[in-house]
Amino acid sequence: MAAVTTTSRQKLGWGATNLVVIALALIPVLWLASLSFKTPTAILDPSFVPAQWTWGNYTQILSTTQFIRPLINSIGIGLIATLIAVVLASMAAYAVARLRFPGKGVLIGMALLIAMFPAISLVTPMFSIERAIGLFNTWPGLIIPYVAFGLPLGIYTLSAFFREIPWELEKAAKVDGATPFQAFVKVIAPLAAPGMVTTAILVFLFCWNEFLFAISFTSTLASRTAPASLAYFSGSSQFTVPTGPIAAAAVVITIPIVIFVLFFQRRIVAGLTAGAVKG
């Protein structure tokens, strides 16, 4: 009996701890959602549930290019950067997983280094570079750094997937008359497709959430992404803080992520842990 009481007490303890953690994580998000449904006059109302529900904040942000245009930028830049990063990463990962070549260790080390590098220390030099070569405030100005930071992530995830594909399949393809490129495209790549999808999701999430480069390397709506655009929201007059619209925009940006993660949860976890444990 003693053992059972301890277990139920333990369960209770764990349950309580989990609840606290979840509450800490979720309350700000729910608070944000609540704010986005409040009228401008009720912003300072401390009650959690809005006294008067309104879609006004949403209609306001979705009817202005101030937010629609950055949303399009975000989607465009994210998709292009993801595509480039996945294609390059799959080639690099294939080489890392399959070939023995001089400098392989250095390459992997460099990739890791880039992934770990504090982005803030790169912002100033990169700002100068982008100004100098005319990339500042353009789509490529963001796509290039995103690809650079997405690549290490992609190489790591994909090489784990490639390692799990038996080498004999490639030998078989070669004997069947395939060139190395055909073997990659027709045999290896289709088998690594789940890995590529996972990698694409991870890289896209990174691009979608990125804020530092987005705010530093853009100056107009031509290339500003959604997270950066939030900082430029203005109220109806100079003296009002546009809390409601900001909250609404934050919710709009978050929704795709939530849907993505719910849908691809297993894929993402598989991608992050692929190759970690021999199956």
Binding site: P166, E168, K171, A172, V175, D176, A178
Partner: protein, 429 residues
């Protein structure tokens, strides 16, 4: 259809390891040749070099008369079956079998025709639209064979294709492989570490050890006239028994008694003088229950007493195991064989001897039985070089490449291959 000629082929890996050492082998058009040997002997590397999956360090490889050293696998017109089958998991059976033809830009109706014909041969017709994951081991194995067959290549290469199957299926597929090869009449090189497969399948068997060719001959020849200790110990199941012995006048003194020397053996051994240490090899079937040996045969061998440790009855035959003071049986070959078969204790002073007896025998476990050994069937080996002295130097067709022996291996190998091509052309079908 093509003959494959390996001319002094050597493979040295970048780390300096010598995997294959100057192998020369002529494989005739339509011949079924088995490469056999313990793991790490270089047989798979040799096969990969023929396929073009590994570079050839030295030597020349000719397929159908053309040097193909620097050709990619796709230009060699060979098909290969892998140990893991290496079926493309994302393609159906039909797509798997047609993949090579599709790459070769064969018209779709021709592909369909060939795939369906191969499927008929292999009894896969009803599985054509399934994926490999939904097939059983035997079916996958047949798909792998089918993928090779549809291409109608000049040669098939098989890398331990049956070793992933369970025992029963393996025997069944072994017959199947043999039947298919006979039906198609295509040159086939087959790698295995299983001596039973080697014995049952091949027109000729090439035994390899440490990257060196030991002997190339028909299965029967290998069994009856092994060139050296390694071949003798590797071919045959249960394996040949090895006993230490000393050459005396007209006899060899061994742990089981003095075995009289007869005929040619006497000639060969008398030259080297008495007192010489040798290793005596006796096949399990050359022992017999002394009581069942007819009186007129008895003088050809000797009888001795042995206490039977274990008796296994298989119905058609009985195996008995007894321990013998074997003397100093110590040769590199035997150590390696022991390691390969897991009997790491051979070569110690005492060893277990296996004898195959007629099922009529009344010997039972624990008996101190009287056994007879046939003196005519002895193999006598030189412990230093491992050479089979029984064969003598009377121009035996069995080739030998003494590892560390007197003859330079390269020369011996080249001679072996040359001799064998003459004598072991594929049998007419």
């Amino acid at each position: 259809m093509a003959e494959i000629v390996l001319d002094n082929i050597t493979k040295r890996f970048p780390d300096g390891a010598l995997a294959v050492n100057k192998i020369s082998l002529d494989i005739a058009d339509g011949e079924f040749v088995i490469l056999v040997g313990p793991s790490g002997c270089g047989k798979s590397t040799t096969l990969n070099m023929i396929a073009g999956l590994e570079d050839i360090t030295e030597g020349e490889l000719r397929i159908g008369g053309k040097v193909v050293n620097n050709k990619t696998p796709k230009d060699r017109d060979i098909a290969m079956v892998f140990q893991s089958y290496a079926l493309y998991p994302h393609m159906t059976v039909r797509e798997n079998m047609g993949f090579a033809l599709k790459l070769a830009k064969t018209p779709q109706n021709v592909i369909n025709e060939k795939v369906e014909e191969a499927a008929r041969i292999l009894d896969l017709t009803q599985h054509l639209d399934r994926r490999p994951a939904n097939l059983s081991g035997g079916q996958r194995q047949r798909v792998a064979m089918g993928r090779a067959i549809v291409r109608d290549p000049s040669a098939f290469l098989m890398d331990e294709p049956l070793s992933n199957l369970d025992a029963k299926l393996r025997v069944q597929m072994r017959t199947e492989v043999s039947r298919i090869q006979r039906r198609l009449g295509t040159t086939m090189v087959y790698v295995t570490h299983d001596q039973t497969e080697a014995m049952t399948l091949g027109d000729r068997v090439a035994v390899m050890r440490n990257g060196l060719l030991q002997q190339v001959a028909s299965p029967q020849e290998l069994y009856e006239r092994p060139a050296n200790l390694f071949v003798a110990g590797f071919i045959g199941s249960p394996a040949m028994n090895f006993l230490g012995g000393t050459v005396e006048e007209n006899a060899i003194r061994t742990g089981i008694g003095d075995i009289p020397l007869t005929g040619r053996l006497q000639q060969v051994l008398s030259r080297s003088g008495s007192g010489r240490d040798v290793i005596v090899g006796v096949r399990p079937e050359n022992f017999e229950d002394a009581s069942s040996v007819p009186a007129d045969v008895r003088p050809h061998g000797i009888t001795f007493q042995a206490s039977i440790d274990v008796l296994e009855s298989l119905g058609s035959e009985k195996y008995i195991y007894f321990t013998q003071e074997t003397g100093s049986v110590d040769a590199a070959e035997l150590t390696e064989l022991a390691r390969d078969s897991g009997r790491a204790d051979t070569g110690s002073g005492e060893a277990t001897v296996v004898a195959r007896l007629d099922p009529e025998t009344r010997i039972s476990e624990g008996d101190n039985a009287e056994l007879w050994v046939d003196g005519r069937a002895l193999h006598v080996f030189d412990p230093a070089t491992g050479q089979n002295l029984t064969l003598g130097d009377s121009g035996s067709p069995a080739s030998s490449a003494g590892p560390g022996g007197g003859a330079a291996p390269a020369q011996a190998d080249a001679g072996a291959a040359g001799q064998d091509t003459g004598s072991a052309a594929p049998p007419p079908r």
